[in-house]
Amino acid sequence: MADFKRPLPNLKEHDTREFWQATKDGKLTYQKCVDCDTVVFYPRHHCTACLGSNLSWHTASGRGTVYSFSVVRKAEHPFFRGQVPYAVAWIDLDEGPRLLSNVIGVDDPANDITVGQRVMVEWEIHDELALPLFRPA
């Protein structure tokens, strides 16, 4: 069977490239508005609360909580078809951002993952970036 690859982010996308570049150094980053302190995530070049565009980058601890999850049993994409059953999840980072990822490192995703479970980032290393996956903390 061919070795199908996981789809990877585009490092040239204008709003999110800084986020993905930081993953090379194992940094899970998010933005805050310097003017009004709003957490902005996914990354942008403007504040979604005030009219400002003065955003600062911060590094998250990598700790978070499973907000919700599903175990995918059927997928058509050739990479993910080979991964089933796998868990997709919304992860609430302790610093506020919510991101979509996978929960890994469990024997049985259907029974070993719960809403509210504490998780920790685990990087999946690729050539030009790393992907923030999560495992139970």
Partner: protein, 399 residues
């Protein structure tokens, strides 16, 4: 009931009967064939149409240009709002607004899709597509299928409110009951190779295979070909049409998207519902027919709550005991009396069928007719319920 502005009405509808065209018919041909039949249903012709509404599913980019030419029309109003499956509720709302403003007299809405023929893996593909949007660039590595997107709403709903898979199953049971009474839905399930075409039970649903936990196969809509058309006319035109007018009494529209700390059990309907009911001057308890976008069972449960049929979190109890079946008119509204996306058709963006079946009910033409049905709500959900989506609410009523 407060006084309602009756300035625009649905006067013509057509649902393309085939759900499996085997690649022999294009989406544009489905749109044109449906438009001609809907105009004939109204007693109007192509020449009467002066406003066109199109979501771009047939001809790709700049559909406002290409669809007018394809139909041979020279409309004065061109609206290409494209917000996924709810586009047609947005179009109906905009048509009423444009007619009330005196910009148009006869509006044409069309939909055509050969999603099945093109073997589109809508539900289980790697993910829904939003081009090169930055949000997609954050999400796409995780392999969230469409089904798992909705499943995460169901999981969170279960966590917050104790909702069960058995309660979710009630939605598919009601729509299947209605589908079995609709010959076109039975033909659709037959053409699509459904294994067991009959009324279903809670056990049938929860024993069907998990596609993305906690959603089972029978919590998910079908993928079909299909299409349809709706004609909306100004009051003076409507009163001279062949069928009784089905008035557009109120509308609302909204979008919703992932927010840090947000609640994914709440949909865009929370924002689009109140202005629609308010404009119409009616309450959810007065609604006879609930045409609610049933891409998945959890979609209906969430939307019923957000539209105010019950409190947030009480949807599981609300839908239980067959309350939504057409033969229980004193208990609540009848849900998706054509069989819905779960059991009649789902070519990708099925919002137009909500308007079509609501119109049939208010005319007395449904195969699961609710006696003396007077008020209907059509609520479309476009995009993905668990992340970015649109909600369009339309309240319909007869004289």
């Amino acid at each position: 009931m407060v006084s309602q502005a009756r300035d625009a009405a649905i006067v013509g509808v057509h649902e393309y009967p085939s759900r499996k065209v085997d690649g022999k018919v294009s989406s544009m041909q489905i749109k044109a064939a449906s438009a001609a039949r809907a105009l004939a249903d109204a007693g109007l012709t192509w020449k009467d149409v002066d406003a066109i509404y199109d979501a771009g599913e047939g001809g790709g980019g700049m559909s406002g240009l290409t669809i007018a030419e394809y139909f041979g029309l020279k409309p004065n109003v061109i609206d290409t709002t494209a917000v996924g499956g709810s586009s047609y509720e947005f179009h109906a709302a905009h048509a009423k607004r444009d007619i009330a403003a005196g910009k148009a007299r006869v509006a044409l809405l069309t939909y055509g899709s050969n999603a099945l023929s093109q073997a589109m893996a809508i539900g289980t593909g790697g993910r829904g597509g939003f081009g090169t949007h930055p949000a997609e660039n954050m999400d796409s590595f995780a392999g969230m299928t469409l089904v798992s997107n909705y499943a995460m709403v169901a999981r969170r709903h279960m966590h917050q409110y104790g909702t069960t898979s058995e309660q979710l199953a009630e939605i598919g049971i009601a729509t299947r009951l209605h589908a079995m009474r609709n010959p076109e839905a039975v033909a659709a399930m037959t053409a699509l190779g459904f294994l067991d075409i009959r009324e279903t039970t809670i056990d049938d649903v929860i024993n069907s295979p998990l596609i993305a936990d906690p959603l089972h196969r029978l919590d998910c809509c079908m993928i079909s070909d299909g299409g349809g058309a709706v004609v909306i006319a100004a009051a003076d035109v409507a009163r001279d049409c062949k069928k009784v007018p089905v008035w557009i009494l109120g509308s609302g529209e909204a979008t919703k998207y992932p927010e840090n700390g947000g609640d994914i059990t709440v949909s865009a309907a929370r924002q689009s519902g109140p202005p629609a009911f308010g404009e119409a001057g009616v309450k959810p308890a007065e609604i006879d027919i609930a045409m609610i976008y049933d891409s998945f069972s959890i979609t209906v449960l969430t939307l019923l709550e957000d539209l105010g049929f019950c409190k947030k979190g009480e949807g599981g109890a609300y839908v239980s005991g067959g309350r939504l079946c057409f033969d229980r008119p004193n208990d609540g509204p009848a849900l998706n009396t054509d069989g819905g996306g779960l059991s009649s058709n789902h070519p990708g963006m099925r919002g137009i069928f909500l308007l079509i079946e609501a119109t049939r009910q208010l005319r007395g033409e449904s195969t699961s007719q609710v006696k003396d049905a007077r008020l209907a709500v059509a609520h479309g959900n476009g995009g993905m319920l668990g992340s970015r989506h649109s909600g369009g609410t339309v309240i319909l009523g007869r004289d």
